[in-house]
């Protein structure tokens, strides 16, 4: 017990307008999917939240047909200025219903309400707002005077930022004149289906957006569907490679946003308190369920002890628990499966000889929780230094020279993001230049904006989301 204890400050669960059942959204209507219904669970309590209808193969066919028809008859012929107004409407409706969506996201995903409310939802609305403005300006995007859409896009998104990943997929696709069939993750389908309701409220023409909940088989059906022109996938590198294999030799376009093992490099001249905040944000934001998480801390040898002391103290003050509590910093792990993956890798870290420190914070008895953990004395050969843990687990390595820092940072098949902490501007620019990563945060971490392209090098995937450059993923150029 600290001197100043927090009183619970729970957000009202009623705001989510949770319904007992949700259904797939095809051709502008909610329809009973003919797949096996799934039950989505609140990972913080292990209670079933709702039953969700899923798509069978014939539902996928129906949705693709609807998307094709909408593409040919409505969406592609529509002037960009009109498409833009639908997207603006959607952006506004998201803003209006953002409290409801934030609470629902937190219930379904387990992330702290302060993150879904202050980070996910504002960024979702911003993404639609930004891309709405592009719809009638595509001739200025640098792809020629009349860049054409691709057609029907099949989109498969992960469970870590359910609605935000939906926005990253749907907003640019619609702005450029494509129609979409999107599969939300099996464990987090709810906000996507409320988004479908928003499409209805915006009077979006039927078939432009179709949402098909389900498991990997629905994704596989999309990937192999002959009438889909484009696949966009965010998820694990393993599945990404399989999708790339499936799409090989077909005319389908593909963009992949896959895993990462980002290095967060702290030099001896870095402002340590700020760096500690950045490290914490880098790995414990969203329980570490972030593909660009700063999961490898590279600390200059001369400061590693002091940095670790301050870091452990700061991490021990993080409040873990009820995601709906407005004071909660670290929420629930999204699923029992993910929790067991994290536990396995953490056990491996101990077995391989790294030094484990775990926050002494109380852990709720029910629900899927994992206390923030910091491994020191980590070597590059250890699995916890090489593999994506996708949880609140930080691996700390050291370096002596800038060259060594760059070499260690780049010693990975991934290349999504990286961090640099130093007061020296010329060093930032030089290191940023040499890091093989698609996003480099200097003296900050985990910043996202619809105007800033995001995406990976190497096995973190290809294609970018956001900015003028992100439009290319949905244009025939």
């Amino acid at each position: 017990m600290g001197i100043f204890e927090y009183a619970p400050a729970p957000e009202s669960r009623a705001l989510a307008n949770l319904k007992p059942s949700y259904r797939p959204f095809i051709n502008g209507e909610f329809t009973d999917g003919s797949g096996e219904p799934l039950k989505t669970v609140n990972p913080a309590t292990e209670e079933v939240l709702a039953e969700v209808g899923t798509a069978s193969q014939s539902d996928v066919d129906t949705a693709v047909k609807a998307a094709r028809k909408a593409y040919e008859k409505t969406w592609r012929p529509m002037p960009g200025a009109e498409r833009a107004k639908y997207l603006f409407r959607i952006a506004r409706l998201i803003q209006e219903r953002s409290r409801e969506l934030a609470v629902l996201e937190t219930l379904d995903n387990g992330k702290p309400i302060k993150e879904s409310r202050d980070s996910d939802l504002p960024t979702v609305a911003a993404h639609f707002f930004y891309h709405a403005g592009w719809a009638d300006k595509l001739e200025y995007a640098g792809y020629g005077p009349d860049p054409r859409p691709l057609g029907v896009a099949g989109q498969i998104i992960p469970w870590n930022f359910p609605l935000l990943m939906l926005a990253w997929k749907i907003a640019p696709a619609l702005a450029t004149g494509n129609t979409v069939v999107l599969k939300p993750a099996e464990t987090t389908p709810l906000t996507a289906l409320v988004f479908a309701e928003i499409c209805q409220q915006a009077e979006l023409p039927p078939g432009v957006v179709n949402i098909l909940p389900g498991a990997g088989d629905v994704g596989a059906r999309l990937v192999n569907h002959e009438d889909i022109d484009k696949i966009a996938f965010t998820g694990s590198t393993e599945v990404g490679k399989e999708i790339q294999r499936q799409v090989a030799g077909t005319p389908k376009r593909l963009t992949l946003e896959l895993g990462g093992k980002a290095a967060n490099i702290v030099f001896d001249d870095a402002p340590l308190d700020q760096a500690v905040e950045g490290i914490v944000n880098g790995i414990f934001f969203n329980q570490g369920h972030v593909c660009c998480a700063g999961s490898r801390l590279l600390a200059q040898e001369s400061i590693v002890d002091e940095l670790l002391d301050r870091l452990r103290y700061r991490v021990s003050t993080l409040r873990l628990g009820d995601p709906l509590d407005k004071n909660t910093d670290v929420g629930a792990i999204n699923s029992a499966d993910q929790l067991s993956k994290i536990r396995d890798l953490v056990e491996t870290g101990e077995a391989e000889g790294a030094h484990r420190w775990t926050s002494p914070c109380p852990v709720p008895e029910r629900g899927f929780f994992f206390a923030p953990t910091v491994f020191s004395d980590v070597h590059q050969s250890m699995r916890i230094a090489r593999e994506e843990i996708f949880g609140p687990v930080l691996s700390v390595l050291t370096f002596r020279t800038p060259d060594e820092a760059v070499a260690k940072a780049n010693n990975t098949p991934y290349g999504l993001s990286a961090g640099i902490w130093t007061e020296k501007g010329s060093r930032i620019l030089s290191i940023a230049n040499r890091l093989r990563a698609g996003v480099v945060w200097a003296n900050t971490f985990n910043r996202f904006d619809p105007a800033a392209p995001f995406g990976g090098y190497q096995e973190s995937g290809f294609g970018r989301e956001g900015g003028r450059i992100g439009l290319e993923a949905y244009l025939d150029v």
Binding site: A248, P413, A442, R447, A452, P453, F454, Q458
Partner: protein, 284 residues
Amino acid sequence: MSDRISVAKTYKLYIGGKFPRSESGRVYPVNDTKGKFLANAAHASRKDVRDAVSAARKAFPGWSSATAYNRGQVLYRVAEMLEGRREQFVAEVTASEGTRKAPSIVDAAIDRWVWYAGWTDKIASVLGAANPVAGPYFSFTVPEPTGVVGVLAPQKSSLLGLVSVLAPVLATGCTAVMVSSAERPLPAITLSEVLATSDLPGGVANILTGYAAELGPWLASHGDVNAIDPTGAEDRAALAREAAGTVKRVLSVPAEEPDWTQRPDIARLRRYLEAKTVWHPMGV
């Protein structure tokens, strides 16, 4: 007419700035379009591919971090050297392709090289951006070379096609391992002699003569190759499947060889570039 016996050229591979024979010791005969013997070309092997990839990887840090202005000058120098060998290229293209248009093809190839040479210090301003993010941050995006590119050169267009697929790789700051046309490899080897006598650092471009069907899969599955141009391959689907094992960038190319005389757009440059976004807080 003199009775002098001419000195015939031995055509070899170009790896790491040197001209080795294939480590396999293999050669294959190259004929002109009428079936007359022209030369024996080195028949590159899997091991030659691996040597070339390792040379290209070694050359990547230097070439990719050279200033864009410097890369432009080096590539322009290549065009100067091409011009100097114009007659030799005309003879080889005539023999390889059996065309009467060789002079204009060679001219177009030289001009194509100059076009790409001029892109080195402009592409970043065309594809990069200052990102107007909603917060107190300076955020900018720059294109950077993706790494080592495996290129299966067109089978028909032995010089203009070859230049059209190689020059964009080098202009972006990537390094290349290229497999030439199997039946028409002579202009490729003469091009490598041009590269060796210009200021292009050894290993930046590596040129192998041999068969795309044999060498392509090794390039596509090699863990140190970042991107593949399958233009000269027959079974592109198989190559693309191999490439998926390491999430390579695979250039989408038309089913038939395009008309290389058409002026290209910047699609090839874009495919070999990665966008890197850098953020820094603003404050005092």
